[in-house]
């Protein structure tokens, strides 16, 4: 599967996080496992999925909470890994994609709010207007996810090919410790959070 097709699958899966159904098919564990299997890097997908799942588990998606998108982070990291990039670069780029996606989603939500009154007026007269608005909103959101993931995959691929191997030790060391400590930080975070609340 090509990176573009994998990003398209990620864009569809991510819809489940907020817009469609909330079956948690968008959770990082599932996204990582599926994209890993599709791109032929099942172990990498599993690892990134589990790590981003643990790191995001204590962020409750209540109200308008938008810390970062862990599904996009896990999916993007897995797609980058399928291109042969080192794990530390995949992890850092995945985390960046997750943060970038949440900023784009915040903008999208505000934009929807600004057109809400006009939509409500039209919907009072014709119920089908709402259906069309829902469809447009879903399509736009999927396109936004695809664009964010695709852009980060492209940039990370270029960084890997042209710069990463010659990057200063400072950068490589920081990225390496960040990615290698992530599973343990994730597990300890869930443990501390659970102990405090039980």
């Amino acid at each position: 599967m090509t990176a573009a097709a994998a990003c398209a699958v990620l864009a569809v899966l991510e819809l489940d996080a907020v817009l469609v159904a909330q079956t948690l098919a968008s959770r990082p564990l599932v996204v990582g496992a599926l994209l890993g299997a599709l791109t032929g890097h099942a172990q990498a997908g599993m690892l990134f999925g589990a790590v981003f799942e643990l790191l995001s588990l204590c962020d409750l998606p209540v109200g308008g909470c938008l810390t970062w998108s862990a599904p996009v982070a896990a999916g993007t990291a897995t797609v980058i890994a399928s291109g042969g990039a080192p794990a530390s670069l995949c992890f850092a780029a995945g985390a960046a994609a997750g943060i970038l996606h949440s900023r784009a989603e915040a903008f999208e939500r505000t934009r929807r709010a600004s057109s809400g009154d006009a939509l409500a007026l039209r919907a009072e007269a014709d119920g089908r207007t709402l259906g069309r608005a829902m469809g447009a909103s879903i399509a736009l959101h999927a396109a936004m996810t695809f664009a964010v993931a695709g852009a980060v995959v492209a940039v990370a691929g270029a960084v890997d090919r042209r710069w990463w191997t010659s990057a200063p030790d400072l950068i490589q060391g920081g990225a390496a410790l960040m990615s290698s400590s992530a599973p343990w930080l994730g597990l300890s975070g869930v443990t501390a959070w659970g102990l405090r609340r039980s």
């Binding site: 817009l19 643990l54 409500a120 919907a123 909103s137 879903i138 390496a176």
Partner: protein, 262 residues
């Protein structure tokens, strides 16, 4: 006028649309547009003979609405029941019934949100994730090449079996009994379930750490234990996971600068 009765086809239509409750989530109305979209076929049936009343019904459901996506199903059931009752009335009795719909909707949404958030987001979601991760670790130790598939399937099943049952139960009971269905919910020992799930999550996280760290060599195992301990302290002090990752990155850079890492 006699009260309209909801057919199985109509229930399925509303259920399908409730899955799109947050498809146009925005910062002003939150789930308002999605809730109005979900109810629209029923509103059109109830108020078919009165176009102005139908427009007013759509208007009142396009307003701000926010609750847990699964709690919305029981609220939708209760509201549909009340809309049918209001449409069958006339004069001041109808006005009173319509005024009651608005207070019923906001009251139920607010009171159920905390309960459903605590159970589904705050207890079942973490527990199902840990179940998935432990299933993958068990499959890996058993030599299975399908550990990722086990992780995904376990996590999805543990979360969705109760979640879809609660959705179906909520819509059905809300339609049949209105707000009395919510009283039934308050009699369930939900707090005890939440506590049990959170304890299971903590036990699962510790077991997962033990299994994961057990695969490492001496030095790496010590590093994992120290990182785990540091994460416990930082989380306890309210430092977010992203900030902890930032500290780890800075620590790695500092260690690389003095030649200690990688």
């Amino acid at each position: 006028m006699s009260e309209l009765v909801m057919t199985p086809g109509m229930k399925a239509r509303i259920a399908g649309r409730l899955l799109l409750l947050q498809a146009r989530w925005d910062t002003a109305r939150m789930q308002g547009s999605g809730f109005a979209y979900a109810l629209d076929p029923w509103l059109a049936a109830c108020w078919a003979a009165e176009p102005e009343a139908l427009a007013a019904a759509r208007r009142r459901h396009l307003e701000y609405f926010n609750t847990h996506p699964i709690a919305a199903w029981i609220v939708a059931g209760a509201v549909c029941r009340q809309e049918a009752a209001a449409a069958a009335l006339s004069g001041p009795a109808r006005d009173a019934a319509i005024a009651r719909i608005r207070s019923l909707k906001t009251g139920l949404a607010a009171s159920l949100a905390g309960l459903y958030d605590s159970f589904f987001w705050g207890a079942l979601r973490p527990a199902s994730a840990l179940a998935g991760i432990l299933a993958a670790q068990a499959a890996y130790h058993a030599g299975s090449t399908r550990a990722p598939a086990w992780a995904a399937a376990t996590a999805l099943l543990v979360y969705n079996a109760p979640a879809f049952a609660a959705r179906a139960y909520g819509l059905r009971r809300g339609l049949a009994e209105g707000e009395r269905a919510v009283l039934e919910l308050t009699r369930l020992p939900v707090q005890a379930w939440i506590l049990a799930l959170r304890r299971a999550t903590v036990a699962g996280a510790m077991a997962s750490f033990a299994v994961g760290a057990g695969l490492l060599g001496g030095g790496d195992r010590l590093t994992a234990a120290l990182t785990f301990a540091a994460g416990l302290i930082l989380t306890w002090r309210g430092v977010s996971p992203l900030a902890q990752l930032g500290f780890a990155g800075l620590g790695g850079m500092a260690a690389a600068a003095v030649g200690l890492w990688p």
